[in-house]
């Protein structure tokens, strides 16, 4: 295990490369999901506030989906 972590003396280069890759990708995944959830929640709230008229538009949109 120690040998594995040692990376033949190159631990200071190999591990930061992997660590940073994991960090950047995890951040991107988290931000993408959070943004989708936030926008969806906002759209729902606005659709509810707008009442029937918009809901009709939203349902005609769903009709398009079925085609």
């Amino acid at each position: 295990m120690t040998e594995f972590l040692h990376m033949g003396g190159y631990a200071a280069f190999v591990w930061p490369a992997y660590g940073l890759t994991v960090l950047v990708i995890a951040g991107l995944v988290w931000q993408s999901i959070a943004d989708y959830r936030a926008q969806t929640a906002l759209a729902r709230k606005l659709e509810e506030l707008s009442g029937g008229r918009v809901r009709r538009a939203a349902s005609s949109e769903r009709d398009g989906e079925a085609q």
Binding site: F4, M7, G8, G9, Y10, F13, V14, P16, A17, Y18, L20, T21, V24, I25, L28, V29, S32, I33, D35, Y36, Q39, T40, L42, A43, L46, E47, L49, S50, R53, V54, R56, A57, S60, E61, R62, G64, E65, Q67
Partner: protein, 256 residues
């Protein structure tokens, strides 16, 4: 929204049917693609870090290749997606094309950043330097990062989506001249960065024990790109719906 019923069927198809169908299809795709991404990257990491040999010249630093090279490929792939989608948006006015282009940019920028930093971490022990301004591959990749950032900045500064889409698409297309420069930089200017060893006319020149982790990581990163692109496109479509709803409410006099 009030004008909805006065739209012809064809107009409504153009404005809504494609995004609606995309939302239905992508909703079913995201979860399985996410699972596939996790499996591919988990297997890739196992072979990259444990079940592959050190290089006879580079020792253990060769393991940086398994994150560096797929990141660089995805950096270029992301820009290609962005450029093609931008062209489709400009020429055919397809309602999803500029959504796709806009959504690809941050993913491509992240991979470009990773390619640059992991390359730097590999270059220090192997070349003796973190960075070399004289190397065309390094500099053209840095330009790619700036193109991505400029593209994103353009979207962020122009408020109205249709105008923002057009300006950003033009920038993406102009910037695509950088793609062949990156690809062939290692052949045209022979400097520090090594030439291609996988996608060559005469076949790959690297050992199959290293090709396996590289292939798994590249495939994992590619499926990750597609998954993230779908999620970001869904978010962007919802953002535009929010914008439309807000405009409709403002027009009807309700306080937002």
């Amino acid at each position: 929204m009030a004008g909805m019923s006065s739209l012809s069927a064809a107009q409504r198809f153009h404005a809504y049917a494609n995004p609606a169908r995309f939302m239905a299809l992508s909703a079913r795709l995201v979860a399985p693609l996410g699972v596939l991404t996790a499996l591919l990257i988990a297997a890739g990491l196992w072979f990259a870090l444990v079940a592959s040999p050190p290089d006879y010249q580079q020792g253990e630093t060769v393991r940086i290749m398994y994150v560096h090279v797929p990141s660089a490929w995805l950096a270029l792939f992301g820009y290609s997606v962005m450029a093609v989608a931008s062209a489709v948006a400009l020429i055919f006015r397809h309602p999803l094309a500029d959504v796709a282009a806009k959504s690809a940019a941050p993913i491509g920028a992240a991979f470009t950043f990773l390619a640059l930093v992991t390359g730097s971490l590999w270059g220090r022990p192997m070349w003796g330097t973190w960075w070399e301004w004289g190397d065309a591959r390094l500099v053209s990749m840095l330009i790619l990062l700036f193109l991505y950032l400029g593209y994103m900045a353009l979207w962020a500064t122009i408020e109205e989506p249709v105008r923002a889409a057009r300006a950003a698409a033009v920038l993406a297309l102009v910037g695509s001249v950088n793609l062949p420069i990156i690809r062939y930089s290692v052949d045209w200017w022979n400097t520090l960065h090594q030439p291609a060893s996988v996608f060559r006319m005469d076949g790959p020149t690297i050992a199959s024990s290293m090709l396996l982790p590289l292939g798994l990581m590249a495939l994992g990163f590619t499926v990750l790109f597609v998954t993230l692109l779908l999620v970001r496109m869904r978010a962007e479509i919802m953002r535009r719906r929010v914008r439309k709803l807000r405009l409709a409410r403002a027009a009807s006099g309700a306080e937002a």
